[in-house]
């Protein structure tokens, strides 16, 4: 491509013949298009090639019996039909929903409460904020390995502390009645920090005059929170809700590292099920079908939230 200063020849005032100008302009547009495509094509190839292509491929795969090695065959909706009768899948869906139903509201509430507590100018506040946020940058793998050790029934410090307090030792992650709740707690330890950071940033946008005015009018702490702070935070809450929902429904790394879906299937979640079917049982078509069911659920959840937000905005607009 030439790097000659073409633009100069097109400077207004030169007034070339109309046909020539049009041709020159067209040439310039064409060159601009070529440059633009040269700039974006690596990103387009990588992003679309590794998203649109796999999404279609996954759909086709979900209608096939395929082990990723030998040629598969078309089975229509059989994978989906089998999925709805598979007790393991049903358990995985149940576990995923339980995990999500606990993690999402708790991380938002905890994040909001901590952000409100941390939103003040006192000594060491920077340190306090850092401590709450630090676990967020720790990988799920490292969290899993660390808590497998802390909660180890024999060598773990958790049971050793219970022993010191005179309480009976627990099975923790090896106990089917406790495992998933402990996994929620571990996820909260690292995940709350993200909500805190986002809420803290949003709290800076609450107009202080408004809070001051409400205080002067005699509003207590609770009413200021309820009527001034929370409404200002609504868009951020919706974002966090969506974000945490997506994160929770897709939980995998922590489960793989700690319980591998056990004990007795009590922590098997949908993504773990997909991974197991595709890469351990070599029933990739079946795994793809499960992945599609989860993706559809995510789409419905996201769409519903979007609708709720739209309706709220409209009704608020109507009130004003």
């Amino acid at each position: 491509m030439s790097t000659l200063p073409r633009a100069l020849t097109l400077a207004p005032g030169a007034a070339p013949a109309p046909a020539a100008a049009r041709r020159a302009a067209r040439r310039r547009t064409r060159r601009e298009t070529a440059t633009a495509w040269a700039f974006i094509s690596p990103a387009v190839v990588v992003i679309l090639g590794l998203s649109i292509v796999p999404v279609v491929w996954s759909l086709l795969l979900s209608f096939r019996a395929d082990d990723l090695v030998t040629p598969g065959r078309w089975v229509g909706l059989d994978n989906y039909r089998a999925l709805f009768q598979d007790p393991n899948f049903r358990t995985a869906v149940g576990n995923t929903l339980l995990y999500t139903a606990l993690y999402v509201p708790l991380s938002l509430l905890g994040g909001l409460a901590l952000a409100l507590a941390l939103n003040r100018r006192i000594r060491f506040i920077g340190l306090y904020r850092t401590l709450v946020f630090v676990p967020f940058v720790v990988s799920a793998t490292a969290q899993g390995v660390l808590f497998s050790f802390i909660l180890d029934p024999e060598f773990g410090v958790a049971n050793s502390l219970l022993h010191k307090l005179g309480l009976s030792p627990q099975g923790f992650l090896t106990d089917p009645d406790q495992a998933i709740y402990l996994l929620v707690l571990i996820s909260l330890w690292s995940g709350v920090g993200f909500c805190v950071v986002v809420y803290l940033a949003a709290l800076q946008d609450v107009p202080p005059e408004l809070v001051e005015a409400a205080r002067i009018d005699g509003a207590g702490r609770w009413r200021v929170l309820r009527h001034i702070i929370l409404p200002t935070l609504t868009p951020v809450t919706v974002f966090l809700l969506l974000w945490q929902l997506i994160t929770a429904l897709q939980v995998f790394d922590l489960i793989y590292v700690t319980t591998k879906g056990g004990p007795l299937g009590s922590t098997g979640v949908v993504v773990y099920f997909v991974w197991q079917q595709a890469f351990q049982m070599f029933t990739a078509g079946y795994g793809a079908a499960a992945a599609y069911v989860l993706a559809l659920a995510l789409l419905v959840a996201g769409g519903a939230l979007h609708l709720v937000r739209r309706r709220r905005e409209r009704s608020e607009g109507a009130v004003r």
Binding site: L4, P5, A7, T29, T33, T35, A36, W37, F39, I40, P42, A43, V44, V46, I47, L48, L50, S51, I52, V53, P54, V55, W57, S58, L68, L114, A117, R120, I122, R123, L131, V132, F133, V134, V137, V138, S139, T141, A142, V145, L146, F149, F155, V157, S160, K164, W189, F194, V197, A201, W243, F252, Y256, W275, F279, A288, A291, Y292, A295, L299
Partner: protein, 276 residues
Amino acid sequence: MSSPTTSRRPSGWHLLLAPLTLCFALPLVWLALSSVMSNAEINRFPPALWPKGIDLGGYRYVLGNAMFPRWFANSLIVAAAAVLSNLLLGALGGYAFARMRFAGSRALLGLMLATMVIPFQLTMIPTFLVMKELGLIDTLGALIVPSLVTPFAVFLFRQFFLALPREMEEAAWIDGCSRLRVLFSIVLPLARPALATVAVLTFLSTWNDLSWPLIAINHDTQYTLQLGLTTFQGLHHTRWSAVMAGNVITVLPVLVAFLLAQKTFVQSLTSSGLKG
């Protein structure tokens, strides 16, 4: 009249905040402590809560017998490649979308953004097959290629460039600079916040990822730290001090990066959050 924040008396909030936030740090403190304990201290019941001395046996074991140095290098290569290429390809794409007019640019941008909501488990099986076709399975290439550039990087650069004034670029362009030179010598030096955000978020997500390496890599010479750590734990679950030493090695780079550039980290995450 009532302005409690300006009083000299230490705030009562410390009584709540100090223990509460310390709870967040405790597991990491325990990680550091147990990594320098001897196996004898850990393997008795009840285990010790504080190391008698500093025992580096765990670190020696991990650095000597296991492949941690190799895994560390692998992680570093993958993360560095992903960061550099996201900066380059993200900036190129973002600049084209922000400043150049070409047919279909809006639709293309919309399509790229739409791919951000596709969940990973939907793409992981075919991505594995694509990487297999490319002959990249079991190489670091399989880890680098899917994270060469994210739609988020392109979008973030585009937003940042749109907010920059055009005049300087136009002057340089009229003076005969190519678009590429304008981007590299005028625009990018002004885009440090965008570069930092993309670098931080790319580093965090590639360094910490487990699920994709787990699928794409079989041979232990190609493991990343995350994959190596969990496999190591499975094989040596009684050598807890060595496992914790390996864990420290896995976490430390991110932790150090975070403490050095905390402001950038926090701003990156909130900007990704509030604009998302």
